[in-house]
């Protein structure tokens, strides 16, 4: 936790922008450089900055541990879920074409976006958990 007014003010102002930038990288990943891994790290970095500036108690209130734990699993489940949808529709695992049978390119884009969203969710929450553990939170 930092006592510097400058750091806290600037950091507080940056916090939402880092999140938005993370979201941009996330959504952009399907057509250009970016994607779930990078976006996940950015989102996690926003919360790490928050914890450094305002103390981890406040961050924990903003983003409770149980939510992070849940997000870890939900991200992977989203990924697997897209795959299982293919199985359920009688296609191969992770066959995107079931998402929009009429338009393969749209199906591909939608599938990748969903999968990347899963990756982003898991990466962000795993990195947050790692930082929390290194910070010496007893469990």
């Amino acid at each position: 936790m930092s006592d510097s007014v400058v750091l806290r003010t600037i950091g507080g102002m940056l916090f939402p922008y880092i999140l938005v930038y993370g979201l941009y990288v996330q959504m952009h990943g399907e057509i250009g450089p970016g994607g779930g891994f990078q976006a996940g790290v950015l989102v996690a970095a926003a919360f790490i900055l928050h914890a450094l500036l305002f103390g981890k108690e406040l961050t924990d209130r903003l983003l409770p541990t149980w939510l992070v734990d849940l997000a870890m699993s939900l991200g992977v489940l989203l990924y697997i879920g897209v795959g299982i949808l293919g199985l359920v529709k009688g296609r191969y695992f992770l066959d995107y074409s079931v998402l929009d049978p009429t338009h393969p390119a749209h199906a591909e884009a939608l599938g990748m976006t969903l999968v990347e969203a899963g990756v982003g969710l898991t990466v962000a929450s795993v990195i947050l958990t790692m930082v929390r553990k290194v910070n010496g939170e007893s469990s």
Binding site: S73, V76, L77, L87, R91, Y92, F93, S139
Partner: protein, 503 residues
Amino acid sequence: MKPDPSMLPVLIVLLPLVGGVLAPILGRGIFGWLLALITTGLTTFVCASQLLLIQAQNALTPGFSVSYPLGGWPAPHGIELKIDLLSALLATLVSGMGFMVTLFSRQGVDDEIPSDRRRFFWSLWLLAITGLLGILITGDAFNVYVLLEISSLTIYGLIAMGRQRTKQALTAALNYLVLGSVGASFILIAIGLLYAKTGTLNMADIHAKLLLAPVDATVLTARAFLLAGVGLKMALFPLHLWMPAAYSTAPSAVAALLAATATKVGIYMGMRFIFSVFAVPGDEMLSGGNVLIIGSCCGAAIFFGSLGAARQPSLSLLLAYSSVAQIGYIVVGMTVGHIDAMTGSILHMVFHALMKGGLFLCAGILIYRLGTTRLEDLAGLGQRMPWVSAAIVVGGLGMIGIPGTAGFVSKFYLLKGLILSGHPVLAGMVLLGSVLAAIYVWRFVEVAYLRPASDTPLRNGLPFEKFLPVLILLGASILLGIQPGVVVDLARDAAQQLMGVTP
């Protein structure tokens, strides 16, 4: 893109993966164990059905294997799952052992893992099984590496969770992490070199391209890196140093799972790469000098592993060193390139998993009731815990290879293959290993039956659900020792398919 009627191949990895991801959410209290039990049970069912399907097909068209393109991308550009007899046999073994050990470990895990960690324990548990099964069924070389990392990283975590019982678990896990990562990097380098050479990652495709090109320095280097990496992963002497500490300090359920499955999967990787990827007629990987080197490693493993086992102060360590020796048997069979030796090798993988799994479960019962497996605390065990010590003796007889136990059948095929292929010295080592095994098994018998009972207090009763898996595993090893026909046929077909020999 024709839809595939069979989704069995992908279910083999998908089921434990979903279970592993659900465990942190749903796995509080008893539910984690239930989830793991149901997941491993279903996976075993799927693996067994896949095995039966492939066996039936194999009778019609020898050399049959199932291919499943993930995402519908056809091989060699997409990632394919490729299951032949050997993969299906070992997948059934791994998932079946996973089920048995899960059944065993409810109270053990309650004892040894703090309650807020249990849901993560079950998550790691299922993900480790996912990784091991994935290695067995994938047909993509890079996928092997990724799944190897999944299984290894989860296993490091599982071993470290033994720290509740003994702090040394942390050191053991760190040791294994360092050595295991070195091994995995070697395997990655080998795969990278192969990719540089052939421009493809699909194993069958790599093999096809290697057949066309002469064996040059790149391929030789890849072979060397692969052998060293796989050797570390399967704990082949002298690369076994991580294993005894890891097995003896891990939570008892984890030790049983690892001893029964993890090293077997390492050996499978070796077999797969040597016989399905690197096998170039006229320039076999296992010829001349290589056989000499690996053969002596195996001989040394059998000799020093058994001797080491005879000197250990605790049953867990004794069993771990005995595993070093048993891995020697398995690898020696695959090294000489004779069909009978290979059959023996595959048989020994299966039988050793049953016996050693059962023995480590017995050690788990000892930890549960006595809190220790130190041999001096086991004095008079024959009177105090007659069933468990009888089970340990039965497993031990299997380790020696007494006729009537499964260990005899696999050693018989090993010896036959070694002698027919002209390796009497190695055959002698296998026989010597049996004598040495008798020594370390006798140590337990002497302590348990010929000494006055020690006064270490007994906790808890003998829960039936703990003894049931022991009964099933060791019972199976006896049953298969008397009636080995079915498994021997399977193993021989698998060996023929692997070595590309037509019957």
